[in-house]
Structures are given as C-alpha cells and as structure tokens.
Symmetry: C2
Subunit: 225 residues, 2 copies
DNA sequence: CTGCGGTACCGGGTTGACCCTGTACCCCCG
DNA sequence: CGGGGGTACAGGGTCAACCCGGTACCGCAG
C-alpha cells in the first residue's frame, strides 16, 4: 500500500492477534496504512506469545475471544505478555463489555495497556492514537466501558447484595442441584443450606407468594448476571 | 447460473455496510485489495438503502447487527434490497449463527444471496469467491451454518419430544411461576398441571434423584432452547 | 465495647412440589 | 375397531423445600 513515514523516526512495531481472519487481516491493513509496522498477525494466544518472544513489538493488539475455548484466552495471553515482556504494550480489543479486565487495568497502576470495544472505535484516528499512547506507556480505556463501570456502581444488581457464600449457594442452585447436593458440594449441613437459600430469596426481594416459584426466579436472576 | 469471470474485464462494484468502523474499513481495504471496487462503506441500514438506490453496486456486503436496535436491521435491509434492487446481490455477514435467514435463503429459491459467518471465513480467497459467486447470481452459505442446520434435524433437542401443552406449561414454569399460577394462566386444575410437569420431567429424561432439582433443570433445558 | 453482618448449625413446623393409580374423552393410525 | 397419544381431572400419599426461632463464633466499624 502506501507506507507513509509520519513524524516518527521509525515506525512503531505492532503484533496483531485475532482468530477471525477477516478482522485480523483488515486490521493489519488499517494499521499499516496508519503508519505502523505490523510484525505479526496470528490467530491464537500461543502463536502470539511465540511471535512476541521471537520478535518483541512495541504493542500487541489482542482480541479477547480466541481458540480453543473462545472465551478469555486473549486476556490470559495479555496477562502473560505483560509479565514476560513488560516492554511490550498490550491493547485489548473486545466485542462486548467485559468489565473484569478493564477494572484490573485501572486498579493495578498499570502502564502501557488499553481496552477498546471493537464496535465503539469511532474512527481510524482513534485506533492510531490508542496504539501510540499504549506504546508510550499510557493507559487507554474505552469511554463506553468507563460509563458502564461507573453506572454499575449506582444501578447495582440485586446480586451485589449477596455475600460470598450466598452467591456460591445460588451458583450451585442454578445448576439444578438440590439443597442436599449443594450441602455436599459446599460442605454445609442441610439446615445451613436452607438458611442461605432463604437469605438469597430475601436479598433478591423474592417474598413468599403463591404464584411464584422463588427457586426458579432466583436462578433466572443469577443467569441474567 | 452464470459463468464466473475469473479475470474481470471491469471490477465488480461492492457496497459495504457495517456499524463497526474498524471492521467496515478493514473489510473495505481487503475487498479493494482483492480487486473489487468499493462504491460505498456505510454504517447503518438506511444509508445502505440510500446508497444502493443512488448507485447500485453488483453486491452489497451487509452485517446483520446494525443501529439503532443492534439486532437484525441488516436482515431487514437485505430483504428490502432484494425486493427493490433484484440486480444487486446480497452477502450477509453474521457474528453468530442465525439459522432463520439462512433457512430463508435455501427455501425461497433465491439467487444472488449469501450468508457467511465473520469468524468462519478461513482466508481472503474465500471471501473473494463468495462475493463473485453472489454477483453471478449464485447462493453461498457458510458450511458451518449448513452443518448446524442439518445437525439440528437429526440431533433433535429433547424439547421436541414435548407436546404443545407440555411446552406451554414448561414455558410458564421457566418464568418462575408456581404450579398454581401455571394452572390459573393456562386454565388447568392443579392436578393437571402436576401431571404435565411430571410428563415434562420424564420426557426430558430427568428421573427422580436426591441430588437434582428437576424443576430448575427443566427450566435450564428450556432456556437452552 | 457494643452491635452488626457473615458464617454455621439445630429443632420443629407447614406446604408446595412431587409420586402413583384410575377415569374420561378425543383423534388418528394401522 | 382396537390401541396409542394427547388432553384433562381426582384421590391420596411422601418429602424436599420452605418457615421461624434460637445458639454460637468471628471480625470489624462506630
């Protein structure tokens, strides 16, 4: 294409990791066009770690969801990267809001990291700036993520009111297990399980009503997160 | 049913619609690189329809999820496009498997349409071929989608074994209602509701076990579709 | 230091969710 | 025409899932 030398004396080196070929290749073109040198474009976390070890870039742009489990390999890889190669910045791309990592970013006094939502990147300049700032040791977090984080503080889900143990009981309950099985799994007596179940109901605002099966309602609330 | 031109006398004209800037711009670069002329790159269904009306391309590549509701605007736009501009092929891109549209594609004796999964496109040649075949009036469906469609025919969900009434009872049960409320809502006696609930359990293969709460398990099975 | 919330347990009670058996009517298929 | 499946109901039983009240220990914030 047209590798335009910008203000940089040397182009920033970027590695791209995303299992979707279309997105990965498209992103590679966009980064190249924006003046970065794409040193690697890989499809899974293992290949990313290998390529960074072999030829450390300034920034790794990583999708969260990757093979084999398609859940949070990208996050694991990002963590590993930050430990083994502190000199390489990590810019995580996510399809949806995953507050967990974003929180870790803010909490840990981190440098050289970022978290953007794929769909929220408004223009190419935003991407270019994010990569540059991460390369320079800055922290970039999508404003949409920040908003939901702040918002969630106020509009707290009723599940937040549950204690650790109550949440554990509810989690097993949501797998369709009986009180007896919950007790066996969490090493609790029947009576204690019953007490926790009742506590969960009251904290979720589920009062005794002839029309409701509160156990199912609690499970539904749990599944809604 | 037309012959596919391998060496194009004129470049095929393609319009791209996707609300995510990164993906849209990346895709635009890839299509251009593959020898297509991208006539428009827009971010919502309305803009797509307008641009196709103003300057009809050979193929429109459309993402399903777009503003404002971020659900299936892309599908609506695809339908509208096929009615108003039969000469323009429509290649739908989806993030996840949405069997509905894929089925319509196969059923309707359609020509010049396609359905690909963003993440399943293995290489750029696959995309290029898909666009060409849709432009030539062919039908392209992602093999993964075909597999799940065919698979779903054979590996029928246990829910298929339920009768109409049993499914209705289960549906109300899945809203967290008690047997009493189910009876009131469906105009059934308590005893009849109980009979249906038991019938649902047996048909779903949920036998009495001290470790399970079958009501919750049945609801979970129902929610999994 | 007092009190509150979380954790953990018990005895004793009620009831809704389940079990089985049996009846009845309908429709459709072989 | 008999039988299987769906729909609908009742009697009569068991038990897991709930209720309440009470005890106990811990840590921590006021």
């Amino acid at each position: 294409m047209s590798p335009i030398p910008t203000a940089e004396a040397r182009a920033l080196r970027v590695a791209v990791a995303d299992d979707a070929v279309l997105f990965r290749e498209g992103l590679t073109r966009l980064l190249t066009e924006a003046g970065f040198a794409v040193t690697a474009a890989v499809g899974d976390a293992g290949a990313l770690l290998a390529s960074v070890a072999a030829d450390p870039p300034d920034v790794a742009v990583v999708d969260i969801r990757m093979p084999p489990t398609h859940t949070t390999e990208g996050l694991e890889a990002a963590r590993a990267l930050r430990e083994r190669h502190p000199g390489t910045g990590v810019l995580v791309l996510s399809a949806h809001v995953e507050t967990g990592y974003a929180l870790q970013l803010v909490d840990g006094g981190t440098t050289g990291a970022g978290y953007l939502l794929k769909e929220r990147v408004a223009d190419l300049a935003e991407l270019r700036d994010a990569v540059r700032r991460v390369a320079a040791g800055g922290v970039v977090v999508d404003p949409g993520v920040v908003a939901t984080l702040v918002g969630r503080r106020r509009v707290h889900s009723p599940l937040d009111a549950l204690s650790e143990r109550e949440r554990e009981v509810l989690a097993v309950m949501a797998e369709g297990r009986s009180n007896q099985a919950i007790g066996e799994q969490l090493f609790l007596s029947q009576k204690t399980v019953e007490a926790y179940v009742r506590s969960v109901f009251t904290k979720l605002g589920l009062h005794q009503a002839a029309d409701d099966n509160r156990r199912v309602l609690a499970v539904l609330a749990f599944l809604r997160h």
